[in-house]
Subunit: 209 residues, 2 copies
DNA sequence: ACCGTGTAACTATCCAGTTAGTTACACGGC
DNA sequence: GCCGTGTAACTAACTGGATAGTTACACGGT
């Protein structure tokens, strides 16, 4: 009696749930957003494709239609995030203090961005040519600022940039044990403001030598 | 002909593979080491219990006997690593420069330690009471150094510690795109030495204000 | 008529955890 | 010295549920 299954299919003709409106772009965007949330939370290995589809309110199949497979969906999320950060956090005239401030603010407003970047570094390899170019531009901007005497020049630009990158995450990236040991709520607004000031003061100390 | 399998069993009476010598402590230690390597590489979600057993040359079942389950094995690895770092990287008299140097050296010699710590922060929650106590001690040491005027006191100890923690990872934790953009081999010994010096100079700048 | 968009049901594989044992060894009686 | 018995250490094979990826079909606009 194999054919009996067909009855089940027919039994829910149109009433069960209204189908998603047919808008490929919107669906794709919804999947990308859902994937961003899921990957940020669980990483590549921990993320679940079914959960992404569910979050997006879309059918799982569409992930494979639009993105290929789980890995390439992850890549799409990484590219998207990476481009967004690069655009939102510039390095105007090699000003590393402004950069650190912008990066801190961006990470605070978009916690997913930092997590995605970290998962990517840990679970997936090589940078894209686009990212590489972006980093080269930044190093160049720092080197120019050094020539103009606005940034100490006894340390290579790459060193300075690596340090400021780390510092600008502030304690948003600190071990939770440190938060706990320090007491209080590390995310309280006035605490964050003080923290931001402290971080920027430290960056200033570093780039002035 | 199901019984034919028994022939296979009989055919390799003692020659096939010599069993592991019966030493519970050694086996447990081998499993912990194998788990450390596996978890460092793949994280909690990406690690495979079978692979851990294989790496250790032990039977998978023993993981469940000795550690409970995958999560608790991960916890055991984290505790082990955490204790090792705390012991190897002291904060003598609140000297944050010495601390940064020791931490950099430790991470360089034990890359697994940093990866485990990060996976833990991302995939698993709360710090243990033991860690908390260790962090409190460190904050206290910094506060004392501040009182003795050896460390700037216009920034809270927790802020300074969070910053130095990040800085001391140097570009061992930097995005691979930065390495690539900077050119050359970032792990070459003389390059690392220069990097270490630069990082320590920056830490000095920060703690002196 | 057909293609792009969407759906539900299905499949093959993987994998954490279990079952049902076997093997090495210590120890006590003889 | 040897043998039986209990126990800790170890093992192979299995199981059930989860999960990435697929198939087969439906519908609507052009």
């Amino acid at each position: 009696m194999i054919g009996s299954t067909s009855v089940g299919r027919v039994s829910a003709p149109t009433a069960a749930r209204q189908p998603r409106p047919r808008d490929a772009e919107a669906t794709k965007a919804a999947l990308l957003r859902a994937a961003t949330t899921e990957f940020a939370e669980y990483g590549l290995a921990g993320a679940r494709v079914d959960r992404i589809a569910e979050r997006a309110g879309a059918n799982k199949r569409l992930i494979y239609v639009y993105f290929g497979d789980k890995d390439r969906l992850f890549d799409a999320v990484v590219d998207d995030q990476s481009r967004a950060v690069m655009a939102a956090v510039p390095l105007p005239d090699g000003d590393l203090v402004a950069f650190a401030a912008a990066r801190f603010d961006y990470i605070l407003a978009n916690p997913e961005a930092r997590r995605i970047a970290h998962w990517r570094a840990f679970e997936r390899g090589e940078p894209t040519e686009e990212e590489l170019a972006a980093y080269r531009l930044r190093l160049q901007a720092i080197a120019e600022a050094q020539q103009r005497g606005r940034v100490r020049d006894d340390l290579p630009a790459a060193e300075l940039f690596a340090l400021v990158l780390r510092m600008s995450e502030g304690w948003l990236a600190a071990p939770s044990a440190l938060w706990a040991a320090a007491g209080g709520d590390p995310m309280a607004p006035e605490r964050l403001a003080r923290h931001r000031d402290a971080m920027l003061a430290a960056v200033r100390s570093v780039i002035q030598g």
